[in-house]
């Protein structure tokens, strides 16, 4: 061993070297701990969020119903015996409900008392009875037990959301009503059932009748319009800019502006939609078509930027290979570049879509904040969207809407999870396997 070599070993083997090494390992361990800590905080935040939303939202998926012995009195509903749908539709179905309630509590006397008793049952019972009779006119004149929804106050009481230790004047359910409810429960007439109404109907002033389906369909239609507009336009723009456009001042200017557009606050797009689509072109207010167009404008820069990045990452050697055997520029793009760029393009598009799904502000500007009871049946029908529905319910005074708000958030999150799953599946489907 030469002198120099021994020295070299010494440098890397003495006390100072070992100390340096220890410090390096310590730094590495510290860094890992930071990383783990960061992930832990993020996971904790997520768990707390999901847990609190689920805890307050889950009750909205059940609803208490009361079994009433309904007498479809022919005298009352169809005095002439024509079974004419128009007559049946106009008839007063509140009376059979009140009669059925009265038969359960014959002792109840007086207007005020009877009103309180009727208040146990949802106003929706009347509509549901009408639907039943219209669907089956032969029911007129018969009796049958029917399950009708309880009012939101009674439902909240049964779910334990109303504090009975408060003085009567400070709560929505009176002592009498509580007694009746307990009586009905004792007779086995009250059932807690899965709340199909919440998943299948539109908005309502009555919390127990309000559903998320109208907003969900509104969101779906809106997103469909957004996708149909922003995906082809965005991909075409990206392909043109990356593959065909000459590099000059104009394309630089366009590029800068696309990046700027991506950073524009969403409400500005709402104002644009209001000014251009509604006021200038006279398109209908509150329509998913307009909402979709506004969100498409908002999503477009995201799609373009993601698509350009994906196209840029396709190795130039593939383009040269295709050009070299005589493919035309269009063939190169369609047969080689786009298939390889597709996973990236799809990921970008779905991220844009997920952002569009959660967007509220621009929809407020174009009137999608209206109170819409009907489930929209097309892109021109008045509609609202999931985040706007959440906003509307969160703003409502009835305490029953609080659980609906949380439940609507759960539905929105479910939508997002489904979209992200779809993104992962699509990616795996199109990912280059070699």
């Amino acid at each position: 061993m030469t002198e120099g070599r021994a020295d070299a070993v010494g440098i890397h083997d003495d006390e100072a070297a070992r100390k340096r090494l220890r410090r390096r390992y310590a730094a590495e361990r510290r860094f890992r701990a930071y990383g783990l800590g960061a992930i832990g905080i993020a996971m904790l935040a997520l768990v707390v969020l999901l847990a609190s939303v689920t805890r307050s939202g889950l009750p909205a998926f059940t609803q208490h119903e009361l079994t009433l012995e309904i007498h479809y009195d022919a005298e009352l509903l169809d005095p002439d015996g024509t079974r004419d749908p128009e007559v049946l539709g106009r008839a007063d179905y509140a009376k059979p409900v009140r009669a059925a309630l009265a038969s359960l509590f014959p002792a109840v006397e007086g207007r005020r008392e009877r009103r309180q008793l009727a208040g146990l049952v949802s106003k929706g019972a009347v509509f549901e009875l009408r639907e039943r009779v219209l669907a089956a006119p032969e029911l007129v004149g018969t009796r049958e037990p029917v399950r009708v929804p309880l009012s939101d106050e009674a439902d909240q009481y049964l779910k334990g959301k109303i504090r009975t230790d408060l003085p009567e004047s400070q709560r929505k359910v009176s002592d009498r009503q509580i007694a009746w409810i307990e009586d009905l429960r004792g007779r086995g007439l009250v059932h807690q059932v899965f709340n199909f109404r919440f998943l299948s109907s539109g908005d309502s002033r009555e919390p127990e009748l309000a559903g998320i389906w109208g907003a969900a369909v509104g969101s779906l239609l809106t997103l469909l319009v957004t996708l149909l507009l922003s995906f082809p336009v965005g991909v075409a723009a990206a392909v043109y800019l990356e593959e065909f456009a000459p590099r000059n001042r104009w394309t630089d200017l366009i590029e800068v502006n696309i990046n700027n557009l991506a950073a524009v606050p969403s409400i500005v797009f709402g104002l644009l939609g209001l000014a251009v689509f509604l006021n200038f072109f006279g398109l209908p207010r509150s329509a998913p078509l307009v909402g979709g167009m506004v969100l498409a404008l908002m999503t477009l820069p995201t799609v373009i930027i993601a698509s350009r990045a994906a196209i840029l990452s396709v190795p130039p050697s593939i383009r040269e290979a295709a050009l070299g055997v005589g493919a035309s520029p269009l063939q190169v793009v369609v047969q080689h570049v786009l298939p390889l760029a597709l996973p990236g393009i799809l990921t970008g598009t779905i991220i844009g879509m997920a952002r569009a799904l959660g967007e509220t502000a621009p929809l407020l500007m174009i009137g999608m904040v209206a109170f819409v009871v009907d489930v929209p049946d097309g892109p021109l029908a008045p509609a609202t969207a999931l985040p706007v529905q959440i906003f509307l319910w969160a703003d409502s005074p009835e305490p029953a809407f609080r659980e609906k708000t949380a439940a609507a958030i759960m539905v929105l999150l479910a939508f997002l999870i489904i979209m992200n799953l779809a993104a992962v599946l699509l990616r795996n489907r199109f990912e280059r396997r070699w």
């Binding site: 383009r319 040269e320 290979a321 055997v325």
Partner: protein, 259 residues
């Protein structure tokens, strides 16, 4: 073109070719005749414009922003930059093999079938299959890939990939094949295979090959052109260039004194 063509007629005649990348000039009035059914080797130090020259012949420079070409490149007497000549057709007649093997991320079969398919050369699937098989055979790859035709072309070894690229190029039945350092990424055995292949291909195709390997140029080519700083310093029969160069710079380069 004409019915009777002497075997060693000029296939490509380049006259006064200059190429500019923006302000920078890469080729300065180059003249070169490429005879048919021979292998012409282009040698010269790095950055002297060999690739640039090659890419002019099938107009691959078209896609480079700011690249300008002047002068004439006659393929069978027709200028390749002529407006009447379609660039897609030109590239079907002048194939190219690149320095780095660049198979498509598709199956071996698809790689070779792609060219004939887009040019509509085969009228049926069976005919296309015949073309694929014979191209792979001529590229000396068939035996190795016979039972993995539907595996990805990118799963082959480097040398196999390069031969796949050659098969892809000859599947379109080009007249000229341009090769830009086709063996630079390969080991000596794969290189020997491809050199043997080039020698066979010469019968049917005109080949222009760029190489940094003097022995390779001497082995496979009949003619050699020595490029230096964007000009052709010397050009002639390979034997003469390597044994008795007239220019001092050629002499220095071949004997390894610079480059």
């Amino acid at each position: 073109m004409t019915a009777v063509e002497p075997t060693n007629a000029t296939k490509v005649r380049v006259g006064d070719l200059s190429v500019f990348y923006g302000e920078k000039q890469a080729l300065f009035g180059v003249d070169l005749d490429v005879p048919a059914n021979q292998v012409t080797a282009l040698i010269g130090p790095s950055g002297c414009g060999k690739s640039t020259f090659l890419r002019c012949v099938n107009r691959m420079n078209d896609v480079i922003d700011g690249c300008r070409v002047t002068g004439s490149i006659l393929l069978d007497g027709v200028d390749v930059n002529d407006r009447t000549l379609d660039v897609v057709q030109l590239r079907a007649r002048v194939g190219m093999v690149f320095q780095k093997p660049n198979p498509f991320p598709k199956s071996v079969w698809e790689n070779v079938a792609y060219g004939p398919r887009i040019h509509g050369i085969a009228s049926s699937h069976a005919e296309l299959d015949r073309i694929v098989i014979s191209s792979l055979d001529r590229a000396g790859l068939l035996k190795e890939v016979q039972d993995r035709l539907h595996e990805p072309g990118t799963s082959l070894s480097g040398g196999q990939q390069q031969r796949l690229c050659i098969a892809r190029a000859i599947a379109v039945s080009p007249e000229v094949i341009l090769m830009d350092e086709p063996c630079s990424a390969l080991d000596p055995i794969a290189t020997a295979t491809i050199e043997g292949l080039i020698d066979e291909l010469r019968e049917k195709f005109t080949i222009v090959i760029v190489t940094h390997n003097m022995q390779q140029a001497a082995r496979v080519s009949q003619r050699t052109a020595f490029f230096h700083l964007g000009e052709i310093v010397e050009e002639g029969e390979t034997g003469k260039i390597f044994t008795n160069p007239t220019d001092q710079r050629t002499q220095d380069y071949i004997t390894g004194r610079f480059g």
